[in-house]
Amino acid sequence: MIRVQREDFDTGAELQKLTAGNTQIGGVTCFVGVVRDMAGGSHIGAMTLEHYPGMTEKQLMAIEAEARRRWPLDATLIIHRYGRLDPGDRIVMCAAASSHREASFEACHFLIDYLKTKAPFWKLEDTEKGAKWVAAEARDNKAAARWLEK
């Protein structure tokens, strides 16, 4: 399941719903991304996440479908927020549940790595020097490239 929303989410409740009623599941790996207050040495007051409605959902669904094609998963979840966020706020959660621990770890890692390079979100940070569009990081492309199928 994927969701794109302005509101915060309750990580524990989401995980609970994800695994409820399926006793094949042996483990769930979850990543929660949080707004940091330092980036590139500048203090950040808050940030605004812009996205491309329609394409965002389409890309997240494609990423989720790809994870389920690659690993034996019982359940997957991606929630991504947009709008104004303060340091410490949750931005994103990815989760993958499986009967196999390895599959749940790899799939969760894949979800966040792919999302970082494919989902159309852009961060505008309030810094001490004014609002600044965050530049993409080369290491995110590198992280996603590891999942390219040979």
């Binding site: 991304g33 812009e50 394409m55 970082k116 390079t117 159309p120 852009w122 569009w133 530049a135 993409a136």
Partner: protein
């Protein structure tokens, strides 16, 4: 043809969305970007360095050689920074 601009591309072109009718020789995304540069100084500035511009057609990531057809929704944006 609908063109959408996001993040600093929107700021520089000064528009979030515009309807355009490129000439018949604009058959792919790369040609469209060259043609869009002529619309205003802001467009020219926004599209000056195409290494930092990404494109989607009908909500799928595409490269500059992707063909265009009437009615396409074309989006221009910087490399994504979500997550």
């Amino acid at each position: 043809m609908k063109i959408l601009y996001f993040a600093w591309l929107r700021a520089r072109t000064g528009c979030a969305q515009e309807e355009v009718s490129p000439p018949a020789d604009v058959t792919n995304v790369g040609a469209l970007l060259e043609w869009l540069k002529q619309r205003s100084p802001g467009h020219k500035e926004a599209l000056a360095d195409l290494t930092v511009v990404r494109t989607a057609v009908n909500q799928e990531h595409v490269q500059l050689d992707h063909p265009l057809k009437a009615g396409d929704e074309v989006a221009l944006f910087p490399p994504v920074t979500g997550g």
